[in-house]
């Protein structure tokens, strides 16, 4: 581990410029009466509140009041999948996945999963199908969120709890946890063919408790291994979708890191309740902000989730499971520049575009 580098603001600026250029082109397209009619969209942030069992939705570029969508009277949701205006939320202890239409602000349907599912971790396979992990059953289920049917279930590893879909393949993160929810050894990743819904391979990773991940600018899958509670053994495994194995591994992510996201400059941002936000550069293989120098939003060394909007702005979640919490938008120097109220115990955030109106 070398000396952590400072954030590369130039890349951040370039990213912002590209986003602005894209928006300009979209707007230009909208004003071109001779071209195809494009829908007017707006970007929204979606926060999953695990104790409230709800979503908070807010406009990224508007000052409107956030609104809340209740998902179910019971459950323990900690993850969600977003595609366009649809959000799929596995309900944890309740074996079901709630499907929300952000344009109407309603739960359009709740699709039952097999009893004992544990429903945690989901990803859209296409516009209609969602793959949901069943940690209690060692399987994944594919549900059609449009017609509300359970398509099929496929056995994977032990305690699957996260899914990423990339280039026609689904990567299922198997925590390999025992009945006491402690890792029994290093985790595994099950790779499935999305079209045929068949298991292609099972990959051993070096870290314990793989739980979440993100696709990097280089096309690799970056898997966060959360490790054990208070084990200080969080790590990141890197997968190349074409090679059935772990291509690299990086330790030093501290105690129980959460779901990561890539910043506009291509660095991996990893939140943790135990230190805040760490930044690691896949290019240099170095920490930009190691755990001991992690970003501390509001001066508090803790974050329960993070995400980037289309403009490349970083948002972090204030980890408060006792009272309504907040999502914080940070400046390029990681100062809090905006705060919006969310529900109790926000655990995940995502950004998407929905039709205006």
């Amino acid at each position: 581990m070398g000396k952590p580098a400072e954030p590369r603001r130039s890349q951040h600026l370039i990213g912002s410029m590209l986003v602005s250029l894209s928006l300009t082109l979209v707007m230009a397209g909208c004003s071109d009466s001779s071209g195809p009619e494009l829908p007017i969209v707006r970007e929204v942030g979606v926060v999953l509140n695990s104790v409230d069992i709800s979503l908070t939705v807010f406009g990224v570029n508007s000052q409107g009041t956030p609104f809340t969508i209740g998902l179910a009277p019971d459950g323990s949701p900690v993850s969600m999948a977003v595609r366009g205006s649809l959000v799929a939320v596995p309900l944890g202890l309740v074996p079901a996945v709630a499907v929300v239409d952000l344009t109407t602000g309603l739960v359009t349907r709740t699709v039952a999963l097999p009893e004992g599912s544990g429903a945690t971790g989901a990803a859209f396979l296409d516009d209609e199908r969602v793959m949901v992990a069943n940690p209690g059953l060692g399987s994944v289920s594919v549900v059609n969120v449009v017609d509300g049917t359970l398509v099929t279930s496929i056995d994977v590893g032990v305690f699957p709890q996260g899914v990423i879909v990339h280039q026609g393949r689904a990567f299922v993160f198997n925590g390999e946890l025992g009945p006491d929810f402690l890792p029994t050894g290093p985790g595994t990743i099950t790779v499935l063919d999305v079209a045929r819904l068949e298991v292609l391979a099972t990959i051993d990773v070096s870290g314990e408790n793989p739980s979440s991940g993100a696709v990097g600018p280089d096309g690799r899958i970056y898997v966060v291994n959360a490790g054990r509670f208070f084990g200080d053994n969080g790590s990141v495994s890197m997968l190349d979708g074409s090679i059935p194995g772990e291509v690299d591994w990086q330790g030093g992510f501290g105690d129980f890191p959460g779901a990561p996201a890539f910043g506009p400059e291509g660095d991996l941002y990893v939140p943790a309740f135990s230190y805040g936000v760490a930044i690691w550069s896949p290019v240099s293989g170095q920490f930009v902000r190691a755990t001991e120098r992690a970003i501390e939003p509001e001066g508090v060394p803790s974050a329960s989730g993070l995400g980037f909007d289309a403009a490349g702005r970083l948002y972090t979640l204030r980890p408060d499971c006792v009272r309504p919490s907040a999502i914080l938008r940070l400046s390029s120097t990681f100062e809090v520049e905006a705060t919006m109220p969310v529900g109790v115990c926000p655990i995940a955030v995502a950004f998407t575009e929905i039709p205006e109106g």
Binding site: D52, P73, D74, A112, L113, D180, F273, C321, V344, I347
Partner: protein, 731 residues
């Protein structure tokens, strides 16, 4: 006895049940209600206080064998019309007085006159404590023996469900039942069985499903913070249960119904050597399984409730008599329950089981003289519980055993003077020692604790004429058995009555300590104890109440009680970001009101109709910066009930519609569970073959097939039927 045969041989299943119902109704229709030469008589009477000689108003007067009842007026007078000629047992009960009964002979078409004297008795701790005047218990109410008998309830929780200000949380059919009063959870409601706490020290809660309804003679509910009067945990209210004592003769009861429900109870009483001896027992059970529809917001679909069976056994014996010029009561009782723990409907447990046994022995002595009350209660309890689930839906298998033994002594004295201020002072000492061995608790959990408290109380009535107010004060000092910290609580009350109207204002404080489980639960899957947890406290609770009663041909009564008492450090289990649950202290704002109105009408030919409406509003909201106040989870803001009971010749019955308002299952104003009504109806018929009384009844619960429940995930079975038959030898 044909009907008895029908019921006692009734197997589990609806077709046979329906046949039994039809047979019973046919039998009732064929039976002539009254011989044509008989004319109903009346009973006129008065009730006075044994100590002061003053008239006693609001006394519940009831014929034991006819369900006919009324209440005494401000002059202590009462009238019962439409009474069948013959011998009747007349029972009188009132809060703060020992119940009494007398045999009355009514001649054909004549008026029988009786004078009753009621002895003021302390209630709540086995015949001692303090005399409760309205100033300290403005919203109190009692459920007497006839109502308990007619309610068709299996458990103490069934009896209290839907009462004003009371919410009974149930874990499904046959599951644990805990009581919440005025928004305070079960660990802040003290339940005393003959003065002995039923609250489990490991959870702080009293499981009301473990006490058979038939073993209770009278249940008194006192809403409000009454820690100063009754001890710690009496923060949201107190439930005082006086168990059945020696009966007057043999009584048999058997029941059956949907869900494979069955019940058989028997009791017996006799006199020997100046003592009254009684004994009784009950066995009951249910299969508990039923098919239900999962709510659409968790995916819908049909499911079947399994592992929901329950069996209970209850036995008791009492000896009552006069010793050293006082009343001595010795009671031995034991309850055992075996049941499946089916869990939530969406994460059912197929193999979780609970077996629990509680044995209690108590000896209470009290003497009420002119101006001096003395009392003492010595008790011992032994609780054993076994919980196991070899294949839980979540986490590790478990197999834990808990053994709790406790013993205690309560001593009380009250002195009254009949001077112009009518002063009254008293005090007492309570002590209890507990030993706990539980596999559910961590190694660091204390195995023994000693709780002690001392209290004093007083009251005066200034000489201000007929409408003089009564001022009362009580204080108690408690020593926490774990921390050794002393805490004090108090009650101050003013009561005023004139004519049919009475007013009361009270100010009090209360507290409820964390349970052993809160602080020392064995850390496990997704559960972490909190050793630093503090007690719940109600630093100041105000309550104002008005009550009124009147009427002649139609008697009516009503009242309104409003309260405000925030809770500092309410103990609430909440998950953290890892979904690991742990208890925390949170501050809560709390206020509300209870309103009730009732009317009783009596008609010629022995008919009567009673109507009652009750409503409760409880606002229990988080003390935090919410745009709108957010109700604490699973505390319905509104509850209410409408009741109607009738008696027509040998037929009686009634209906009850209960409303449980909307509630939030999460600590935010989302995912609201809508309120719902449930309607129960019952009809009974009584025969009187020579020297005996035979009653048969039919109950339909949740008449409209309602399946909602207070807590999400514990479905109710919809409409159920129950048939009961009781045979009693008349005195």
């Amino acid at each position: 006895m044909r009907a008895f045969y029908l019921i006692s041989t009734w197997p589990r299943g609806r077709p046979t049940a329906l046949a039994g119902v039809l047979s019973l109704l046919a039998l009732g229709a064929l039976h002539p209600p009254r011989a044509s030469a008989q004319w109903p008589g009346q009973i006129h009477g008065s009730v006075t206080d044994a100590v002061t000689g003053a008239p006693v108003s609001q006394v519940a007067v009831q014929l034991a064998d006819q369900s006919r009842a009324t209440t005494s007026d401000q002059a202590g007078a009462f009238r019962l019309r439409g009474v069948d000629p013959g011998a009747h047992r007349l029972m009188v009960t009132r809060l703060g007085y020992a119940p009494a009964e007398v045999l009355v002979s009514v001649e054909n078409g004549a008026i029988a006159r009786v004078r009753l004297v009621m002895t003021p008795t302390p209630i709540g701790i086995g015949g001692l404590g303090v005399r409760l005047d309205p100033a300290v218990a403005p919203g109190a109410y009692s459920i007497g023996s006839p109502e308990i008998r007619d309610a068709g309830a299996s458990t103490l929780g069934d009896l209290l469900r839907g009462r004003p200000g009371v919410t009974v949380s149930e874990r499904g059919v046959g599951g644990a039942q805990t009581i919440s009063i005025r928004g305070v959870a079960g660990d802040g409601v003290l339940v005393l069985i003959d003065g002995v706490p039923l609250n489990d020290p490991t959870t702080g809660e009293a499981d009301l499903s473990r006490l058979a309804a038939s073993s209770a003679e009278e249940i008194t509910v006192l809403p409000g913070a009454h820690t100063a009067r009754f001890g710690q945990r009496a923060q949201g209210g107190v439930v005082l249960v006086r168990t059945r004592a020696a009966g007057s003769g043999p009584r048999l009861r058997t029941e059956g119904g949907s869900l494979g429900r069955w019940r058989a109870a028997a009791e017996w009483g006799a006199s020997a050597g100046g003592f009254r001896i009684g004994a009784g027992g009950e066995a009951s059970g249910a299969d508990g399984g039923f098919t239900f529809t999962q709510p659409g917001d968790i995916g819908g679909g049909e499911a079947h409730r399994r592992n929901a069976d329950v069996e209970r056994w209850t036995g008791w014996a009492t000896v009552n008599g006069v010793v050293a010029e006082g009343l001595l009561r010795l009671r031995l009782g034991s309850e055992r329950i075996e049941r499946g723990l089916p869990g939530k409907s969406f994460a059912p447990s197929r193999s979780a089981r609970q077996t629990a046994t509680r044995s209690q022995a108590s000896i209470a002595w009290s003497r009420v003289e002119q101006g001096l009350d003395l009392g003492a209660t010595l008790f011992g309890t032994l609780d054993e519980a076994h919980l196991e689930d070899p294949d839980p839906p979540l986490g590790r298998s478990f197999d834990t055993r808990t053994r709790l033994s406790s013993g205690g002594l309560k001593i009380a004295v009250t002195r009254r003077w009949s001077g112009i201020w009518r002063p009254e002072v008293g005090g007492g000492l309570d002590g209890e020692y507990q030993r706990v061995n539980s596999g559910a608790l961590s190694e660091t959990s204390p195995r023994q604790r000693a709780e002690t408290s001392a209290y004093a109380h007083g009251a005066v009535t200034p000489p201000l004429g007929n409408a003089a107010p009564t001022l009362s004060l009580a204080v108690r000092a408690h020593r926490d058995g774990l921390s050794g910290i002393w805490r004090t609580t108090h009650e101050v009350g003013v009561a005023w009555a004139r004519g049919p109207v009475s007013l009361q204002v009270s100010q009090r404080s209360g507290f409820s300590p964390p349970s052993l489980g809160d602080q020392y639960f064995r850390e496990g899957v997704a559960v972490v104890p909190n050793p630093d947890l503090g007690p719940e406290r109600v630093p100041s609770e105000w309550e104002a109440a008005v009550a009124f009663a009147g009427g002649r041909a139609v008697g009516w009564s009503g009242g309104l009680s409003a309260f405000r008492g925030d809770i500092a450090g309410m103990i609430v289990w909440q998950p953290d970001f890892r979904f690991v649950w742990s208890p925390r202290n949170i501050d809560v704002r709390r206020d509300g009101l209870e309103a009730w109105f009732g009317a009783d009408a009596y008609f010629g030919g022995g008919g009567s109709l009673k109507l009652k409406a009750e409503f409760s509003l409880v606002r229990v909201t988080y003390d935090r910066d919410d745009p709108e106040p957010v109700q604490v989870l699973y505390r319905p803001r509104h509850t209410g009930a409408l009741r109607a009971d009738f008696e027509l010749g040998s037929w009686s019955g009634g209906g009850r519609a209960r409303y449980l308002g909307a509630r939030f299952p999460v600590p935010s104003p989302v995912n609201e569970l809508p309120g719902f009504w449930s309607i129960d109806v019952a009809i009974r018929h009584t025969w009187r073959p020579a020297g005996w009384r035979v009653r048969a009844g039919l109950r339909v619960d949740r008449l409209l097939d309602q399946t909602d429940a207070l807590i999400f995930g514990f479905p109710q079975p919809g409409r159920t039927l129950g048939l009961a038959m009781e045979v009693q030898r008349l005195p």
